[in-house]
């Protein structure tokens, strides 16, 4: 989106001068893009359209009666659905906690592994380990580590006199969200660090040299050179992470099952469609999730546009 904004004036100029050759090239480009676009249409737009259509029906999974069109009935029910409303709060809280921690920690790690020191290559590979473990596996591993009866975290806490008694981190509702967020931060910070590292590496080194000659302090250089030039990478990282966090399912499902006070939006959708077999209403929930995620994307891109000017 930033790219189209930036290149818009140039394109207008180019269009005036467009020659036969350019037109031919444009046509060729479209021709070569067509298969990819068809695939995208098939795997993205078709299911999306199908879901929107289903959200206006009473379709049941494995029903023996025919499906009926019910208009806005599913959406009217959705507005009064406390479980779904609560899941929005849980999911948004989780998103805000994890994305902010992942961004700050990821930036620090990226800056560290971007500086030159011995063993940097090894460090860059090692930091990716948490990201490489499948989420369901690491979630189960952490669930057991958190356990107050046989988990090492409480055991160490009690032995070192940090905790007076073992704490049920996951079961208690006041620590549950923080416990699950910590695992997500542990797992996904490397991913943010990797994206930011890529951004850092394209910043020309001579900018820092010039700033150094002009007497700018390291901190000054960070605020005036690193951060502004890193902005595209930061936005990519934030958008990726926010969308992922808003769709979170696996960690919560392993930790809490279908516990009612910790359901995320995706868990509500999954339970409605698969467990209850209520495809129509589940589709309405899915559309709502799609719109909520859409709101976040709009916020980010607007933020980007303001910054560009």
């Amino acid at each position: 989106m930033s790219a189209s904004e930036a290149t818009a004036p140039r394109r207008r100029v180019r269009r005036k001068r467009s020659s036969g050759l350019q037109r031919k090239q444009t046509r060729l480009a479209w021709l070569m893009l067509t298969p990819a676009l068809l695939v995208v249409a098939f795997v993205a737009f078709y299911p999306l359209g199908q879901t929107i259509y289903q959200s206006f029906t009473d379709q049941q999974f494995l029903a023996f009666e025919p499906t009926k069109w019910v208009g806005l009935a599913n959406y009217r029910r959705l507005i009064h659905d406390d479980a779904f409303r609560h899941s929005i709060t849980v999911t948004v809280k989780f998103t805000l906690i994890t994305v902010s921690f992942e961004f700050v920690l990821g930036l620090i790690i990226a800056l560290v592994v971007n500086s030159s020191f011995k063993g940097r290559g090894v460090m860059r590979a090692v930091m990716l380990v948490p990201w490489a473990i499948p989420t369901v596996v690491s979630a189960q591993m952490w669930k057991w580590m958190y356990d107050p009866i046989f988990g090492p975290i409480d055991d160490a806490g009690v032995r070192l006199h940090i905790l007076s008694h073992p704490v049920a981190w996951i079961a208690q509702s006041n620590t549950a969200l923080w416990a699950v967020s910590a695992v997500d931060i542990w797992k996904t910070t490397p991913f943010v660090a990797l994206l930011l590292l890529a951004g850092l590496q394209v910043i020309p080194h001579d900018l820092y040299e010039a700033a150094g000659v002009d007497g700018a302090s390291k901190l000054h250089q960070f605020w005036r050179i690193t951060l502004p030039l890193l902005r595209p990478a930061i936005l990519v990282a934030l958008i990726f992470r926010t969308l992922d966090a808003l769709r979170v399912f696996d960690i919560f499902y392993v930790f809490f099952g279908s516990r009612s006070d910790t359901q995320t939006m995706s868990i509500v959708a999954q339970n409605t469609i698969v467990t209850e077999g209520n495809v129509g209403y589940g589709a309405a929930i899915s559309v709502a999730i799609f719109l909520i995620i859409g709101i976040f994307v709009v916020i980010y891109t607007t933020f980007l546009r303001v910054q560009e000017q």
Binding site: I149, A168, F256, R259
Partner: protein, 440 residues
């Protein structure tokens, strides 16, 4: 670990079997052979040459070999050809495979294996086996037969199925002066408290009692045992939603009062393996679990320090165990109902259940088979009281295709109770949700 443990068990059983070679009863998987088919000649005369398809257990492991052996034996003796098709390993995939087949009125499946919570949903598509197999059904545990009887029709036959039992630490009971495991819930509470108070001094992680309290299917099973063993009904009885009653509320409030005291508050996140980890690490005095934990726990620090018994009860109500297991049914769209029924008759006979219990360590649904010495040797937890315990089943036959949703209403509600809400405030909500799902 699990595999080596299983191997060790198999080897030790093989040695035990060899040691007692004088006795005629083979009790090892290798020694036991599929039994002969009773009345094979008559079946052959009537149905010989027909072909049927049997959707059996998953494609991996001993269960599939068991199916292959049994199918080969039956075909050889009766001349009925059987195409054996393993079902998908994932239970919900197996469910939808059958559902698709039934809604297409397809004759491509004749006999199928069904989870204990499916007959309610599939009843309209299944043959009533009562005329042919009603007599034989009387041999099986009454609770499971009731589960497989939908609107007066016996739509499936029990095949094998385990149920919840109580694990306890024999060394700790002795240490604190108890000669017997608890028989009532109140006793369990008192014993768990005394043991926990004593052990906590040296081990701050120690707890009295663990079970499956996560908001998932396992909690429906556990809470059914609490209610049914305390006069609180079975969620839905005779088609009426009964979950909201004073005795149910009393036992649920008792269980809630234990959480954070003799039961760790983490129990509200526990599934089977979490509970087993707590027990196997030596940090719990009592555990409710399925029989699989008996052999699984033999390779852990509590090996030799624990035993099993039936779950506790309240007052005059019996001890119970919630059944998880499998049934056999015959499709209404089958072109060979007669041959298929004969196959089910043999498969659910005492002889085949005995073979399966030894060959594959499955719990027989026929209590008399569960007490055969060779079967007990292969399944050492099958002490007489456990083999005879009353088996209860989840309310699937009343909820039909809505079972999963009804069960979700139950386990989410009970999980809220364990997390601190009073039973009186949650049970009416569960009851009204269930009422919406129960078909008259």
């Amino acid at each position: 670990m699990g595999l080596t443990g299983a191997l060790a068990l198999v080897v030790s059983l093989a040695i035990a079997g060899a040691g007692s070679a004088g006795t005629a009863e083979p009790s090892t998987p290798a020694a036991v052979k599929p039994p002969p088919v009773a009345g094979a000649a008559a079946i052959k005369a009537k149905y010989g040459g027909q072909s049927i398809t049997f959707v059996g257990d998953g494609a991996v492991g001993n269960s599939h070999v068991r199916d292959q052996n049994l199918v080969a034996q039956f075909s050889k003796q009766t001349g009925i050809k059987i195409k054996l098709v393993p079902h998908p390993a994932d239970s919900s995939a197996a469910y939808s495979q059958l559902a698709r087949n039934f809604s297409a009125h397809s004759s491509s499946i004749d006999v199928m294996m069904m989870d204990v919570v499916w007959p309610g949903a599939f009843a309209p598509y299944l043959v009533n086996l009562k005329p042919a197999l009603g007599q034989q059904a009387k041999l099986h545990a009454a609770g499971i037969v009731l589960n497989d009887t939908v609107k007066g029709k016996l739509v499936a036959m029990p095949w094998f199925g385990d149920f919840g039992i109580l694990y306890y630490r024999t060394d700790l009971l002795k240490k604190y002066g108890y000669s017997k495991p608890p028989t009532s819930w109140a006793q369990l509470g008192a014993m768990a408290k005394k043991i926990q108070d004593g052990e906590k001094a040296s081990n701050p992680s120690f707890v009295g009692y663990v079970y499956q309290g996560n908001a998932y299917e396992g909690l429906t099973c556990d809470s059914l045992e609490w209610l049914a063993s305390s006069g609180g009904g079975q969620f839905i009885d005779n088609g009426k939603v009964t979950i909201n009653n004073p005795k149910a509320a009393a036992i649920l409030n008792l269980q809630r009062s234990w959480v954070g005291n003799i039961v760790p508050s983490a129990v509200t996140t526990y599934q089977e393996e979490d509970a087993r980890n707590a027990f196997d690490s030596g940090n719990a005095a009592f555990m409710r679990n399925w029989p699989y934990a008996y052999s699984a726990s033999q390779t852990t620090p509590v090996k030799g320090k624990f035993a099993v018994t039936v779950l506790p009860h309240t007052g005059k109500s019996p001890s119970v165990g919630t059944v998880g297991g499998w049934q056999l049914g015959v499709s209404k769209y089958s072109k060979h109902v007669g041959a298929a029924t004969e196959f089910v008759r043999w498969m659910t006979s005492p002889a085949v259940e005995r073979y399966d219990a030894i060959f594959n360590a499955n719990v027989p649904t026929i209590p008399a088979v569960a007490t055969i010495p060779a079967v007990v040797k292969a399944n050492p937890y099958l002490i007489p009281s456990i083999a005879k315990v009353t088996r209860v089943t989840r309310p699937a036959r009343y909820l039909g295709p809505h079972y999963a949703q009804g069960s979700q209403d139950i386990y989410q509600g009970i999980n809220q109770i364990l997390n601190g809400k009073s039973a009186q405030s949650v049970l009416p909500t569960i009851a009204s949700e269930l009422n919406k799902l129960v078909k008259p």
